[in-house]
Amino acid sequence: MAYSFPEEVLEYVFAFLSSHKDRNAVSLVCKSWYEIERWCRRRIFIGNCYAVSPQIVIRRFPEVRAVKIKGKPHFADFNLVPEGWGAYVYPWISAMVRSYPWLEEIKLKRMVVTDESLELLSKSFKNFKVLVLSSCEGFTTDGLASIAANCRNLRELDLRECEVEDLSGHWLSHFPDNFTSLVSLNMSCLGSEVSFSALERLVSRCPNLRTLRLNRAVPVEKLPNLLRRAPQLVEFGTGAYSAENQTDIFSNLVEAFSGCKHLKSLSGFWDVDPAYLPAMYYACTGITSLNLSNATVQSPDLVELIIQCPNLKCLWRERELIEDMTTQVLDYIEDAGLKALPSYCKDLQELRVFPSDPYGAEPNVSLTEQGLVTVSAGCPKLQSVLYFCRQMSNAALITIARNRPNLIRFRLCIIDPQAPDYLTLEPLDTGFGAIVEHCKELLRLSMSGLLTDRVFEYIGTHAKKLEMLSIAFAGDSDLGLHNVLSGCESLRKLEIMDCPFGDKALLANAAKLETMRSLWMSSCSVSYGACKLLGQKMPKLNVEVMDERGHPDSRPETCPVEKLYIYRTVAGPRVDKPNFVWTMDEDAVLRLS
């Protein structure tokens, strides 16, 4: 007979395991560990809201305190998923209200959240503390008012890039006078003005406030009052950073910023007037994260600001926090600005350069591949890159790969689709091949430019740790897709748009799809017939065809579907599909359209 530790001891040990992977591994050891673990799991992460149902989750984990759920596929960010597709949070909230009365934390990404959901959650969870909504939509400022009014123990309200129907700024005034627990408030995505006096009173009475990200409507003249009331701030996002009357405001800002001795992160800077940037210099010595991606600041001013932040770097924390600890800029920084970066910010870990004018036919700034090459050479800790540019070469990519074998995320967007190596006019296969070959820990890759099947050979051969791959306008044939599906052992998410991939690779690698979270294919050549076959043969997958031209039965079976979204699930076909989505399964084949 095997002797085991008492349950309490195991529970105590398990409490030290925070990573989901570790907890999942523990639960597979044996039945008794599974039982003990499920009763003491407090935090769950659901990467795809349709992979499992609320009932199944609640049945397995009865004592959850924190939930993180993701909804729509990533390409929804780029308007590829029509409205009404799904990812509604209401069923989750109503189920959790019944079963998790002590729920404290809800974090959602790409989900549809209604005012009704917000009101329900605010009135039902007495100890509710943290609400983070990332790229969510479907609610108005009335929903926020419910949260403010009813969540007496709220610590975090974080709205990141949400589509909120902005009825008025009055929601903020709904925080009661005796409410003092706020630690983090991010309202940067809201449009309308909140009452400044209400905001000032709120900031004054919350001594633990460490994050405050204002929206654009807060003018720069209001900042000094706010900063004076919250000198303990660690993360601060300004509103519009310009004004007409200069002198008074400037000196007030200098004074206010110099009082903030703990600032580590700055963001905001809409409509920035470079003349006001120096006001921040006193606060900059501790800055480790700078988000200037709203700031249309020209290169010299930007470099000045960066020079003032010698500690610009990322602290290694949980992966989701790392995305805040970055330098984010528009391409106004130009090659010259990027050249300065390594001298001043040796510890830089993540760089994101967004385009200021993505739809113009000609470049409006002098930003080329050289900027990225320079940063890759001079910043030894650089591990995460998102870079928009208009030209790239294999030589540059090979150099970057050799300089930075420690890259874990590499997302390159060359704005013109299928742009070749601008020096040789060849495809960029060898360049990206070098990236996957040298960067052995690469977790995420997005490619662009002219790419043939060859690049997928390299990826299948080398990218063994790759978890997420995004492809557009690439490849010549099914061999490309086959190489990815059969070679990338760690692949979890694959998203493909406008590539000539058809049925063969998909059907030959059907089993692979059960080991992944999801596969997205749009404007490819996968036939309706293949989708039906896949749906029939793979009951553990939801094979969803999305087509706005009407039911695919009205077209021949060999005709390609518009969009295909395949994901593994234990919840069966979803019941909330809109009229342009069909689940391929046994029933679908027999059902009349």
């Binding site: 390409f75 960010d77 780029f78 308007n79 590829l80 790229s135 890039e161 589509e163 995505c189 809409w270 409509d271 991606s293 528009l330 967004f354 385009p355 200021s356 004018d357 993505p358 739809y359 113009g360 036919a361 000609e362 928009f388 967007c413 704005i415 689709p417 299928q418 050979e457 051969t461 557009a472 306008f473 061999l479 086959h482 190489n483 059969s486 070679g487 748009m497 406008d498 590539c499 000539p500 049925d503 063969k504 690779a505 059907l507 030959a508 690698n509 059907a510 089993a511 404007s523 050549s525 017939g529 293949a530 076959l533 896949l534 043969k537 077209r555 021949p556 060999t558 005709c559 390609p560």
Partner: protein, 176 residues
């Protein structure tokens, strides 16, 4: 390493689960071709160049400088937040960014207020090519098929009438 793609495997599920064992493919393709003759204009594989009509037909109307209908949907991969910043910035700098017309006569070009050549792109499926791609509108003329099946040059009639009668659009290279 040469990777061979098997086209047909036995239906033994243990062997990599290749579902490529249908041999009705050839028959189906023939059916598809036959049926095409009866198809209406919303079939997938066009055998002529055509313009994929965005739902809002915004290509033929006002176009925001930062409206993604200018080019391929979903490309470049920029989310709506970033587009708003781009849009605001151009507005702020006094550009005529909200009005960007494409005229439909020969040699029509999209103009922007910024005084430099700025092409309008459309997403087209080119003859014989499976992937849609962006093409500059300049250098093509726009023709359309009306309810009677006749092909006409676009731009010869009022917008309202045009919209009621258009069935398909075709871009022809100048000179054809």
């Amino acid at each position: 390493m040469k990777l061979q793609l098997k086209l047909a495997l036995p239906s033994n599920l243990d062997e990599g689960f290749d579902l490529n064992y249908r041999n009705e493919d050839q028959e189906e393709e023939e059916d598809c071709r036959l049926m095409k003759k009866k198809r209406s204009f919303d079939e997938t594989f066009e055998e002529i160049k055509n313009v994929e009509i965005p739902r809002t037909l915004s290509l033929l109307d006002h176009i925001d400088l930062c409206d993604e209908e200018d080019g391929v949907v979903g490309w470049p991969p920029i989310n709506s937040w970033r587009k708003k910043i781009c849009h605001h910035h151009h507005n702020r700098h006094g550009c005529n960014a909200t009005m960007n017309y494409v005229t439909v006569e020969n040699g029509g070009r999209g103009g922007s207020g910024r005084g430099r050549s700025n092409y309008m792109y459309v997403k087209v499926k080119m003859e014989g090519v499976g992937i849609a791609r962006k093409e500059k509108v300049q250098g093509y003329k726009l023709t359309y098929q009306d309810k009677e099946g006749d092909w006409l040059l676009a731009g010869d009639m009022p917008w309202g009438t045009f919209i009621k009668s258009v069935q398909r659009l075709k871009l022809l290279r100048n000179g054809h």
